[in-house]
Structures are given as structure tokens and as C-alpha cells.
């Protein structure tokens, strides 16, 4: 799965975000709601207007979890164990939606990093998000 090179690229990429995690998370979520409207069905209680505090807050939360995962690439299952339980027993988000978030995170990172978002980085992030999705859906059945 994730090679040594992938892990290095991931850590470097996250390093380049320079504390803008909240913004990145919010942007990715917002893009997801826009491009994949059915994803909004999981947030009927949210204010979905532009600049919504709830969307920003949730984006920050999601990004914090992903950043934590990037710090624990050798043990994703353990690092994401609580979230895995939450998604399996509580949230029960259909796993197809993880791919939509992955695509939107890729787009957000690409808009920010431009040429630096090389094919190798794209590959590493895609593999990482795939691994995260796998762990989150692990206990679904």
C-alpha cells in the first residue's frame, strides 16, 4: 500500500499547508457539497450558506483527523479506531461518499499547490485517502 516514498510525500504536502488546515478542510467540504449534492443529506441540520460556521467547523474537524492520520501512517487502523467506530455504528455514511471527499480534497490541494501537486503527490494522496476510507468502513459489517 503506502510506500516509504508515499509517506514522505504526504508529510511534505501536509507540511506545506502552513497552519491553513481549517481553510483547506472547509474548502474541501464546501466543494463536496457543491459537486455532489447528495452528500448534504448527512447534514440536514447544517447551515449550508457560503461561509457557514458549521461547515468551517466541520471542515476543521475532518482535516484535524486527516492530519493526525498523516502523523500515524504506520498505524492508521489504530489512529482512526475511534472514528471507525463512529462511522460504523453512529454516522453510517455510505462509503461511496469517501471517494467524493477524496476528490474534493485533491482539488483543494491542487488549487493551493499548483505545479507542486505533481502526479506523484496526487498518487500518494489518493492512496492515503483510499486507506483512510478503508479503515473508516472496516467495521460496517
Amino acid at each position: 500500500m503506502l510506500t516509504g516514498e508515499d509517506k514522505k510525500l504526504l508529510q511534505q504536502t501536509w507540511g506545506k499547508l502552513g497552519g491553513a488546515e481549517e481553510e483547506v478542510g472547509a474548502d474541501a467540504l464546501w466543494r463536496m457539497f457543491h459537486s455532489y449534492p447528495p452528500t448534504k443529506t448527512y447534514f440536514p441540520h447544517f447551515d449550508m450558506s457560503q461561509g457557514s460556521d458549521q461547515v468551517r467547523g466541520h471542515g476543521k474537524k475532518v482535516m484535524a483527523a486527516l492530519s493526525n492520520a498523516v502523523k500515524n501512517l504506520d498505524n492508521l487502523s489504530q489512529a482512526l479506531s475511534e472514528l471507525s467506530n463512529l462511522h460504523a455504528y453512529n454516522l453510517r455514511v455510505d462509503p461511496v461518499n469517501f471517494k467524493f471527499l477524496s476528490q474534493c480534497l485533491q482539488v483543494t490541494l491542487a488549487t493551493r499547490l499548483g505545479k507542486e501537486y505533481s502526479p506523484e503527490v496526487h498518487s500518494a494522496v489518493d492512496k492515503f485517502m483510499s486507506a483512510v476510507a478503508s479503515v473508516l468502513a472496516e467495521k460496517y459489517r
Binding site: D27, W30, R31, H34, S35, Y36, Q103, C104, Q106, V107, T108, A110, T111, R112, L113, G114, K115, Y117, S118, P119, E120, H122, S123, D126
Partner: protein, 147 residues
């Protein structure tokens, strides 16, 4: 029939007008082959694709990427009749090339990421949404004549 709002059409065509088809096409295909290496199965005759550098510099990859994106331009020019526009290409991809339509979705998503990296902040959520819709429509049209 796909329903496009005036805004969606404008977002697509305006951006397309600024796309360097040769460069973007080459980059999108190369990125697909690097990020999803199993897609290389369709291009065994292209020669050296042993590393990301090899793929990016491969002249056959670049040429084919340009061809694919040029063809994509037809969809932009015919947004109201993409299925009709790509009917022949769909048959070709099914009967001669034997390409799993999942690959069209993958390439579409990769193209969106390439556009994002080129246009940065200008690739707004609304712009992305219009383009995700277009790539989805194109993928669907290319799969439509499969049997």
C-alpha cells in the same frame, strides 16, 4: 437530455477557452497512468512507463493525451448533445478498444484535478461543480453504446 444552466455553460466554456489542450491533455493522461498504474494496460505499446518521469516524458503518452483532450473539446462545443456526439467513439471504446468505462470516470476526475492545479483559486467550487458534471456526462456518453 442533460440540463445545463446558463451559468454552468458559461463556467465550462470560459475556462475551456483558456486551456492549453496539448499540455493539459498530456498532463491528464500522464497523471492517470501514474496515479492509477493499472490503466497502463491499454497502452502496452507506448514503451517506457516505468517511472513517473518516464511517463511524463513519454512522447506517445503526450501525443495520446493531446488526442484525447482534443476530442473532449467536442463535448464542450456540444454540451446539449454529448451522447450523440460521442456515439461512434463509444462503440469504438467498447468493440475495438475494450476499455472498462470506469476508466472514463477516473480520467474525468484526474482532468478536474489538473484544471484545479492550473487555475488555482479561479477554479471555484461552482466551476468545479460544472466541470464534475461535464466529465460525468462525457463518461456516461462514452459508456452509452456499450453492449
Amino acid at each position: 437530455m442533460v440540463n445545463w444552466t446558463a451559468e454552468e455553460k458559461q463556467l465550462v466554456t470560459t475556462l475551456w477557452g483558456r486551456v492549453n489542450v496539448d499540455e493539459c491533455g498530456a498532463e491528464a493522461l500522464a497523471r492517470l497512468l501514474v496515479a492509477y498504474p493499472w490503466t497502463q494496460r491499454f497502452f502496452v505499446s507506448f514503451g517506457n512507463m516505468s517511472s513517473p518521469t518516464a511517463v511524463l516524458g513519454n512522447p506517445m503518452v503526450r501525443a495520446h493525451g493531446k488526442k484525447v483532450l482534443t476530442s473532449f473539446g467536442e463535448a464542450v462545443r456540444n454540451m446539449d448533445s454529448v451522447k450523440k456526439c460521442f456515439a461512434q467513439l463509444s462503440k469504438l471504446h467498447c468493440e475495438k478498444l475494450h476499455v472498462d468505462p470506469e476508466n472514463f470516470r477516473l480520467l474525468g476526475d484526474v482532468l478536474v484535478v489538473v484544471l484545479a492545479s492550473h487555475f488555482g483559486k479561479e477554479f471555484t467550487p461552482a466551476c468545479q461543480a460544472a466541470w464534475q458534471k461535464l466529465v460525468r456526462v462525457v463518461a456516461h456518453a462514452l459508456a452509452h453504446e456499450y453492449h
